[in-house]
């Protein structure tokens, strides 16, 4: 663990991944039931629990519910420390039932490809007739995107990933716009936020289209536009994303001491 403290007013350096985790953690409200995904969201949940949401409850698709961070740094949600003093060890069907009933407030999903309405593709690049790249698939992502009260997308901001229309909808966002989820029969939800390496984006409550909401320190609106594959809508006033605080970084580096997930 990095224990170096006070930099005499010099802002402490942090990585893009650390900023993304801090932003993800801030999306968790105290008391939320959080369906925690792999990688960065795993850290985001741990950070939120310690920083500002002590009453958040974590639900993991493997069949784990816990109300405290794991006692040791973990790499995957199946690591044994994540089972230690869990509040419930159960079956995937049980935790998916919680989700399907509408009892999960927020979930996190990564993606390879996202489009202007927040549909995610983690299955096939290039479409089904001409498969260029086969990706691992849904896992629980389609279920989270379908059934959580809201979900948050975390991914790298690159033009090849931010496309006008995804090649395959693994995890539904807002389809082709307003009313699509309702027509499809989805009971609730939809993406609320996209956290990228450059910015935070949200969705227009009327049109359901993605809108640039805030740019990370060091990035500009122009950078974000240049790395987005469609003419991105921009909010009337674009904020600058708050950098991770000293406290957030201290906690984060305790959970990821070697920077495995959040290193440069």
């Amino acid at each position: 663990m990095d224990t170096k403290g006070g930099h005499g007013g010099e802002p402490r350096p942090y990585t893009a991944a650390e900023l993304m985790v801090a932003v993800a953690a801030r999306e968790i409200n105290d008391g939320d039931v959080v369906f925690v995904g792999m990688r960065l969201p795993l850290l985001g949940f741990q950070l939120a629990k310690q920083a500002h949401a002590p009453n958040a409850v974590g639900v993991f698709e493997l069949g784990i519910v816990r109300d405290a961070p794991a006692p040791e740094p973990i790499f995957t949600m199946g690591d044994l420390p994540n089972l230690h003093r869990a509040t419930w060890l159960a079956d995937t069907g049980d935790v998916m039932g919680l989700l399907q009933q509408g009892l999960v407030d927020v979930s996190f999903i990564g993606g390879a490809q996202v489009d202007r309405f927040g549909n995610l593709n983690t299955s096939y690049i290039g479409g089904l007739d001409q498969i260029e790249t086969r990706l691992p698939g849904s896992g629980g992502a389609c279920d989270l995107a379908s059934l959580a009260r809201r979900h948050i997308i975390i991914m790298a901001h690159e033009k090849r990933r931010f496309v006008p229309k995804v090649d395959y909808i693994t995890s539904p966002g807002y389809g082709d716009g307003a009313g699509w989820r309702e027509r499809a029969g989805l009971p609730r939800g939809g993406p609320s936020t996209v956290i990228t390496t450059l910015a935070i984006l949200r969705f227009d409550p009327e049109t359901r289209e993605m809108i640039l909401s805030s740019v990370h320190p060091g990035a500009t609106v122009e950078d974000v536009m240049a790395h987005t594959g469609w003419p991105l809508k921009v909010a009337a006033s674009v904020a600058e994303t708050s950098a991770p605080t000293e406290d957030e970084l201290l906690i984060l580096r305790r959970f990821d001491p070697q920077g495995f997930w959040t290193g440069a």
Binding site: M38, G63, M96, Q100, R134, P136, G137, G139, G140, L147
Partner: protein, 303 residues
Amino acid sequence: MSDSKLMTLAEAVSRFVPDGGAVVAGTALESFIPFAAGHEIIRQRKRDLTLVGPISDILFDQLIGAGCVRKVRAAWVGNVITGSGYNFRRAVESGAIEVEDHSNLTLALALRAAAMGVPFMPARTALGSDLFKTNASLKTMTCPFTGDTLTAVAAIAPDVAIVHVQRADEHGNAHAWGNLGVTREACLASRRIIITAEEIVSHEVTTSDPNRVVTPGFRVSAVAHAPWGAHPSPVPGHYNRDHQMFLDYQEESQTPEAFARWQARWVDGVRSSEDYLARLGEERVAGLRLKHHAPAETVDYGY
């Protein structure tokens, strides 16, 4: 009392994993993955299998790379800690295997439908997604009671479930603790069940705590003693996840040639579980053992 079902892993795989059969494995998702049994399937050169499971981690990728597989019915195939499974990628991109794309919930419900003896289970997931385009086991339906649009998930009844546990008796009563994923549904859904266990224990041990029995022993076909049989995945109470093995596998499976070397070293050349552990080395094995034990309070089933 039934006869003993205890046999070697080689005999269990030889007798109960038929060429062309459907095998459900990796049912606890990230833990208890039956790698020893999977590697035995590879050594016996089983062919044209249909693999069924939620995420499988790298087990399905290995079976695909070894040429054992014709079809995959799964939610996710890859390497949890690194992402892509390269054998899976190559096989799908070249058209060598067929894929039925599930989500974790639809896969769980497909097995639960078979476990319940019904043709399908309804769900609210995946509506509007393209899973319907690459999974003929999913259809939309109208609820006969509410009129809601629902997803109907067709039952999957595998030929055999392969399940790794902490301990089992010779009659097939298996104790598992931890998060069990879709293990219970998978056992009940399958025609046959192979249990691989860290420890073989007496019937007195398993019946002392019947809540912990995964599936009724009379449904089990084979019990095989397989210490470290889930390595590199973790087994609660026994050993931690061997992250390095998963990280190394990324490179070791990146090309068909690299994977052939991996298979020769870690599967084909392995003569026994002792030999496998020797290949891992004492230091590595020691590093994976539990550092902190946390036994539960006992419970009383008295009368």
